[in-house]
Symmetry: C2
């Protein structure tokens, strides 16, 4: 259990292991020596010597950086520094079984903020082919026979919007978030298992993406998401 | 160098090490066995036996999970599963020296989306004391004698807004992003080193936080950030 931090400016004191220390030392070492992605790195044994620590703990720390995609091992070239995947750590952590309700709620709020704020990117980059995909989803939703099918259409519609922003980090972030929100949907459902629907539908949002502007999109998306705001 | 993925649905094939495999196995094992944060975990030697791998590679994989805050070692209780810090991986990766310009630009766009979309949370949770802090920053900015001082006021103003959302994940995310954007500011500066200023000032945003509503805030923030949109 994580205790909420009453002094947000003071970082919590965590129990520090040798691997933590060496991992931090390695990252500082690479930064200070000016290594860039693509550069060959010293060998494990050389790093152990430079940092005056055992090879075992260097191996452990390197393994952490490898997990984050910060280093890669290439045939013939040995270890190189790599451009890490910014979402690699997050990917492992977004597990509803691990995260407390507090953090889950914060992530859900983040989703609302992103979808209301994404209008400008959408109008900058919308393509006719994507609007047609949204149109298809709206039609599928009308024909949906079950609650599960409607939820699936809802996820497809919103996922398409994230993709349409042309921002790959934003798109992947949303993809990681989707499985997190099952508990929110269950939480918000009434006694009949149904959830409230906003005053603007997916069809309404699509019409605005065709004929409106970022301002009207923002307002419409807020109205679309309004039932969720009641639970904040 | 990361090659852009032309087939976003197909995950890239990365060179997989034993530690990758065992790390994944451990995470699956904890999930399938229904471990929750706070639960005591089997010992390293027991995990090695259960997964039929060497203790060394289990130690390496556990070290990765410890880095992400997913496991902790407690006096007397041994290893326990912990609620991880969702931003712990990201914290290590947001390094302008490591990330390519493509990802940096995506993160900057994310910032614009967040600030335009945060109006609802701000009006839900604004406090008079915070509005007074913003007022002080606006006054400090008027008295600022140098470009550096103005940049500092700008960062303080926007950081305060993130804090005012009451969403700790959002606040910490922004704190991690701030150092990333130096290169953007330099990129956008004209030959005189100055950057363009939006049609709505910090004072304008503050007046809306006092007397306006989320809709007018969103529009004002868009105008405030407009110079950045020219570079997208």
């Amino acid at each position: 259990m994580t205790v909420p931090n009453a002094f947000p400016e003071i970082e919590p004191i965590l129990s520090t292991t040798m691997a933590d220390v060496v991992e931090e030392k390695l990252r500082t070492y690479f930064r200070d020596k000016g290594f860039s992605p693509g550069d060959a790195l010293p060998k494990e044994v050389e790093l152990a010597e430079a940092l005056q620590v055992s090879r075992n703990v260097v191996r452990e720390a390197l393994s952490r950086l490898r997990m984050l995609g910060m280093i890669e091992t290439k045939k013939r070239r040995g270890m190189i520094l790599a451009e890490p995947d910014v979402l690699s750590g997050l990917e492992r952590l977004l597990d509803p079984q691990l995260l407390g309700k507090g953090v889950m709620k914060q992530l859900f709020e983040l989703r609302l903020v992103l979808e209301i704020g994404m209008g400008d990117l959408l109008f900058l980059r919308r393509k006719e082919t994507d609007l047609q995909i949204l149109q298809q989803i709206v039609e599928d939703e009308l024909k949906a026979a079950s609650h599960a099918e409607r939820v699936e259409c809802d996820i497809r519609f919103h996922s398409t919007l994230y993709r349409m922003t042309g921002n790959e980090t934003l798109r992947r972030f949303q993809k990681l978030l989707v499985p997190m929100f099952q508990y929110i949907i269950e939480n918000e459902a009434g006694p009949d298992g149904q959830t409230a629907v906003g005053a603007v539908s997916h069809a309404g949002l699509l019409a605005i993406l065709r004929h409106g502007d970022p301002t009207s999109f923002r307002e419409a998306m807020k109205k679309h998401l309004d039932p969720h705001f009641l639970f904040l």
